[in-house]
């Protein structure tokens, strides 16, 4: 085992970058769940869509246009999903929701294959963020640092919106008790709709920023789904704090597990999840006691 | 038979049970009176183990059961009915009683035979159905019987575990005065050696059944004695009737 500090810094940065990507994905999913008690398994498929939109837009207008437009396009898909399915499934139990959104995974996956084909697409890292940056004594890819910074900016933004603004207070009231919130004159339906769209946009954003790191392929949504679910279940459904904690735990356990105990790395995170569920069946920081 | 010593429970800043000590002899029928929010149901939940007290002990038949989980206490003879019907809705009256009787007779986990077919289970089901006037409804589903009959079944299911002590949380909650009276006759006809602890809202009805009365107010025992003394007690009138009229 190496004692080189730079090596560990590098691993920590890798872990942080993975955490931030997962945070972008999981925060939308968890807040949607907290507010609407809705489990959207198709969230991963929205991330894949974000990557595909980004690839298409980047090919025409370049990376930054894609970075801005992909989340908007995914939010647009979110609007369709919401009015088509989600709204109607609101009052159903988790099992029906899991199944409908499981069906949506199939549908969205094949739709991306029909539109974009089976071959993976690639998208270039923008010139501005290419290369490496000296940071904490190591050379680290600028683009990955950009993802970390982006995650932190989104986190700060959401913490501000949720904690300090009127709309945040409304969301917190809704998570706490949606009937009560409705009694207080909050238009809960509209609130749900907005939160759902923002959640979708964040999933699209995650897809767009992940696209240059990985190849954009139809099953990338399916691959990211399980880690995202682990994050929100470990963290506790419904809370920003839970999404942050879950993302960090996943990112660090996965990255350092692969370095320290390669044979066990893949089992480790599932064992951790099982342990959390046994000790605290509702996750570490659930929105409600 | 059932004894609590200095039970204490708070939820945050709200002190729901204050230093409650009760002692029920075998066969005693005690009614707990008290205004809404006096902590009656919270006390029940601590007695059966659905809530853990912050301090104090619960003794059942001479044994300290404070640390035992709900199911173990139930198997040692502590049964309860709920203020809000807690039945097996898709099943018939017979099946509802049968599930409870199967647990009591140790047939709830058998793999080789159906519990409801066992003679000892059938016998308990029949006995209990007679005790709480459910015979005509045995094969009806819970969804097909009236609210009043469901209240009877609620008590019946609790009885089908053949308990030593039965805790009843407002058995007549939601039924009309006439039916409530009939309900109390039914309670009066239960075996004399069964210890009963009943939460009741209506004072007059309470006096029908009670050997002894306990009055709770703000989680504290403010009266503990015979019904006659309770009837004459100014303290009771002040606390209980005052808030009764408000409610």
């Amino acid at each position: 085992m190496t004692t080189d500090l730079g090596f560990w810094t590098l691993q920590a940065l890798n872990a942080l970058q993975l955490s931030m990507l997962l945070f972008l994905l999981s925060v939308g999913l968890t807040v949607i769940f907290g507010l609407m008690h809705f489990v959207n398994l198709a969230h991963g498929a929205l991330y894949a869509l974000g990557a595909y939109f980004a690839a298409s837009f980047a090919a025409i207008w370049g990376y930054w246009a894609a970075f801005l437009l992909a989340p908007v396009a995914v939010a647009g898909v979110g609007v369709l999903l919401y009015s088509g399915f989600i709204q109607r499934m609101r009052k159903s139990g988790p099992m029906a929701q899991v199944l409908v959104t499981f069906g949506l995974i199939f549908v969205l996956l094949d739709l991306t294959r029909i539109v974009w084909g089976d071959l993976p697409l690639a998208i270039e890292v923008p010139a501005m963020l290419g290369g490496r940056l000296a940071f904490l004594g190591v050379e680290y890819p600028t683009y990955r640092l950009f993802i970390i910074v982006l995650g932190l900016v989104v986190l700060a933004g959401l913490a501000f919106v949720l904690g300090r603004t009127q709309i945040g207070a409304m969301i917190r009231a809704g998570v706490d008790n949606d009937e009560m919130a409705a009694c207080l004159g909050i238009n809960v339906e509209r609130l749900f709709f907005c939160v759902f769209c923002v959640g979708c946009a964040l999933a699209g954003l995650a897809g767009a920023v992940a696209a240059p790191l990985l190849s954009v392929s139809p099953d990338m949504g399916l691959q990211i789904l399980i880690p995202t679910l682990i994050v929100i279940v470990i963290g506790g459904l419904g809370s920003l704090k839970g999404a942050v904690a879950g993302s960090l735990i996943y990112g660090f356990v996965q990255t350092f597990g692969a370095v320290l105990a390669p044979q066990l790395s893949s089992v480790l995170i599932y064992a951790l999840l099982a342990a959390v569920l046994v000790i605290k069946p509702v996750g570490l920081f659930p929105a409600k006691g | 038979m059932l004894e609590t010593r200095n039970l204490d429970k708070s939820f945050g800043a709200v002190h729901v049970t204050r230093d409650v000590s009760l002692k029920l002899e075998r066969g005693e029928r005690r009614v707990i009176l008290g205004p809404n929010g006096a902590g009656k149901t919270t006390l029940f939940n601590q007695l059966v183990g659905e809530l853990t007290p912050d301090s104090g002990t619960v003794n059942l038949a001479g044994e300290d059961v404070t640390a035992l989980p709900v199911a173990k206490r139930a198997r040692q003879g502590l049964s309860r009915s709920y203020q809000k019907n807690t039945l097996f809705d898709g099943l018939t009256v017979e099946e509802n009683l049968g599930l409870a009787a199967a647990i009591h007779t140790g047939n709830a986990t058998t793999l080789w035979s159906d519990s409801l077919g066992k003679a000892e289970v059938r016998e308990i089901v029949k006995d209990v159905a007679n005790q709480v006037d459910l015979m005509p409804f045995l094969h009806a589903k819970v969804s097909q019987i009236s609210y009043g009959v469901r209240r009877q079944l609620e008590v019946g299911v609790a009885l089908a575990t053949r308990p030593l002590v039965l805790l009843m949380d407002e058995p007549t909650s939601g039924v009309g005065p006439e039916m409530a009276k009939g309900f109390h006759d039914l309670l009066n006809n239960l075996p004399r050696d069964l210890t009963l602890l009943i939460i009741e809202h209506d004072m007059d009805l309470a006096f029908d059944v009670a050997d002894t009365i306990t009055v709770l107010n703000y989680g504290e025992v403010v009266f503990d004695g015979l019904p006659d003394a309770a009837r004459g007690s100014d303290l009771l009138k002040e606390i209980y009737l005052g808030s009764w009229e408000d409610a």
Partner: protein, 330 residues
């Protein structure tokens, strides 16, 4: 609590005669499809037992089947046990693991239960994927079928193996019915109806859940052993969570909590998959649309739908509406 109605008996007779007809008349490809249906039917039978009658919506049953398959493969090849011993041991191991998972997850409900079982399934999947003894990504080959030549039965014959699977499925169906109609099964559905009350009546709820989950895992293990013998080669793909997801889809397509419905669902699903995949590579799209349609229509699957309309017309048999409530409330 499971009840056989005349309608369900009729459906069973119809299914059995269809399977027998297929088994005796079909050619190689038809027999392969039949065997695939029978094995899937066994898996979804196991899943319906816990999901439909106890509200334990498991996303690890595919992995449990994989445990049975890998258990048999390793024990019969690497460990050199004779097939019957390896089969029994593999099924026993699957039941044991399943019991432990059931016990651990018994405190979780709703979405947390689904996630917890998913976690355990994925844990098994990752472990098999990594561990050299299980052949990793390459899988394991050279798996032998059970040797029944001493009674003159050659399971290496495709037709005979299909019939063998059919007989096993019938036995597992009988076992599932027996479990559900026992005192244990009764308590299990009591827990689904009202867990708090069962506990207050003195039932050790986690034990009931673990026991039935273990028995369900045992049936999934049998399905796994047969799956390994069928293809004679296994790969970790067998244990992926999507297999469990598909099993759940089949249960829902067929009719949750009807036991007969999932068998219908298995037949429909496999045939649909083969027909559609020969027409288009986008067959998942169609399956997805059907699934969404079925769930959103609020009918209890194909079988549940037919059963309910049949009951509504004849008004003689009573249908347990509980299964639908599970779909809504689980």
């Amino acid at each position: 609590m499971f009840h056989h109605t005349p309608f369900r008996y009729a459906a069973l007779v119809l299914l059995a005669s269809g399977a027998l007809f297929q088994a005796f008349t079909a050619q190689y490809f038809g027999l392969e499809i039949l065997t695939e249906i029978l094995i899937l039917a066994m898996l979804v039978l196991a899943l319906d037992m816990v999901a439909g009658f106890g509200g334990m919506v498991s996303l690890c049953h595919g992995a449990l089947m994989g445990v049975g398959a890998y258990g048999y493969a390793v024990l019969s090849t690497t460990a050199g046990l004779t097939p019957p011993v390896a089969m029994a041991a593999a099924v026993g191991i699957t039941a044991g693991i399943s019991w432990v998972i059931g016990a651990i997850c018994s405190r979780s409900h709703g979405i947390y239960f689904i996630m917890a079982t998913l976690a355990f399934g994925q844990m098994a999947y990752s472990y098999v994927f990594e561990a050299p003894i299980f052949g990793g990504d390459d899988g394991l080959g050279g798996i032998e079928r059970l040797d029944l030549s001493f009674i003159g039965v050659d399971l290496n014959d495709t037709r005979t193996f299909a019939l063998f699977c059919l007989v096993t499925l019938a036995a597992m169906y009988g076992l599932a019915v027996m479990i559900l109609r026992s005192g244990l099964g009764r308590s299990f559905s009591g827990v689904m109806h009202n867990e708090q009350r069962m506990r207050a009546l003195g039932l050790t709820v986690w034990r009931i859940k673990a026991d039935v989950f273990g028995l369900s895992g045992m049936i999934a293990g049998v399905a796994g052993v047969l799956a390994a013998q069928h293809i004679m080669y296994i790969s970790p793909g067998l244990m992926a969570w999507t297999v469990s997801g598909e099993a759940l889809v089949v249960v829902i397509l067929g009719g949750l909590g009807t036991l007969v419905g999932p068998l219908v669902g298995a037949a429909v699903f496999v045939v649909l998959k083969h027909e559609l995949s020969s027409l288009t590579t986008y067959w998942h799209l169609i399956v997805g649309v059907i699934l969404i349609g079925v769930v959103m229509s609020r009918a209890n699957g194909i079988f549940g739908f037919i059963e309910n309309s049949f009951a509504a017309r004849s008004k003689t048999t009573e249908i347990n509406p509980k299964a639908m409530e599970v779909t809504k409330d689980a």
